[in-house]
Symmetry: C2
Subunit: 251 residues, 2 copies
């Protein structure tokens, strides 16, 4: 079975200027991991039409799903929906159902030009519900277009997730030890060679104040009993090398 | 004068799996902004050799500088240095000065295979000092190769920044108002049209519990007095529309 893959495209000058810290990658990554969709790439680009068009067209061909965040609000710098219409070469127009949602929500006379702009989407787009501030996201083909504000993005993600073709969840087992990475390097390399149906990642941690450190070893894959075998091998090796297993979270 | 541009390439399965939240983009973005180097793109990719090679080769041609983070440790999953050697088609070999640094640091007999691996770099690389855990980063041509652990990455960045050709700092002025984005949209669009030597960004904020919200308007550019003129225009417009300017941070 071909693996289901995805990319996240973050559209926002505010991330690239350092003004705002991205909060969306980790949320989406964890959600996708749970339903067995691999997040293969993240790209952060500015609010520039040509950049959005070329990135969307590149990513949507490469991956099963693309999730964009940002740039769907009412102001002049919100150009995501228009750019995605251009990427798909379809008309950028008012989506009737989106218009109805906003018309019902706002008091008479308050559906101003900016708000109407938020109902404009590529022709053929389907809506993604926004339970927070009402103005919906949308998807067209395999491209899901979400707000940038984390709480709104999350509400939209909860709504769209039912549409995704999921696979077996990706299981991560974390083994934490006080041994330094370099001590374990050779053994981990050998275990990875012997068990290539999982991924073994090694992430050092340091407590610079207390001058201690060690490594988090993460074993990832889809077969729980296989991962448990690998976990036991690693723990045995840590013990043999005189290290302690400090914590053993099976997530 | 041609603008100095840059890209950040984050190499790490742990970010794409959602296990770890990236802490490096914002740090680098703010540092670059201060010295007038535009961060034009960020890409997050897995620890896969071909991905690293093609991303590095793509980005180093497009931008003045590329900063990579992650994958320069002692374990089997640390493949950044080797991949960058391949990208530049040069030998991947022990860097004598890096070797000397580690040899001096560790007690006799403790410079094991994993640690020696951290001294292997593309031929011709120049070292970037690591004042935290000693093993250096490096740069080759316009590609700067840094650790993934934020504290170590930051120490390396402080060392390398002196090599960068900087420009005029990018100045950001933030105007916060209680008016909603959609009320301001038309006016902001007009001001952006009239003053196209700056960028006007509009970022809504919400306090969902207190049911209040508004917008942060960020005016960015390099000419302080020009930005102040735009700032005054925007504040006048907010007042005219019945909004309050809640805060006015000139950074």
């Amino acid at each position: 079975m071909k693996e289901t893959t995805s990319a996240v495209l973050i559209i926002g000058n505010e991330i690239l200027s350092g003004r705002t810290k991205d909060e969306n990658v980790k949320y989406i990554a964890l959600k996708l991991s749970k339903i067995g969709i691999k997040l293969a790439e993240v790209k952060i680009i500015p609010d520039i039409k040509e950049e959005i068009i070329s990135s969307v067209n590149d990513l949507r061909k490469k991956y099963s799903y693309v999730f964009t965040t940002g740039g769907i609000g009412p102001t002049h710098d919100d150009i995501t929906s228009e750019s995605i219409s251009k990427a798909f070469k379809v008309k950028y127009e008012i989506h009737k159902d989106a218009y109805k949602i906003l018309e019902d929500y706002y008091p008479p006379g308050k559906l101003n030009e900016g708000r109407i702009k938020m109902t404009k989407m590529p022709r053929g787009a389907k809506l993604i519900k926004n339970s927070i501030t009402v103005a919906p996201g949308f998807y067209i083909d395999n491209v899901y277009v979400l707000a940038g504000v984390p709480k709104i993005m999350q509400a939209m993600f909860i709504d769209l997730i039912k549409n995704l073709k999921s696979g077996d969840p990706i299981i991560n087992i974390t083994i934490t030890t006080d041994l330094y990475e370099s001590i374990l390097a050779k053994s981990l390399e050998q275990i990875q060679k012997d068990f290539n149906n999982c991924e073994i990642g090694s992430y050092p941690y340091f407590n610079f104040e207390r001058k201690i450190g060690g490594v988090n070893i993460v074993v990832s894959g889809k077969d729980k009993s296989y991962l448990n075998t690998v976990e036991k091998k690693i723990i045995a090796k840590i013990n043999k090398l005189g290290g302690k297993v400090k914590q053993n979270n099976s997530l």
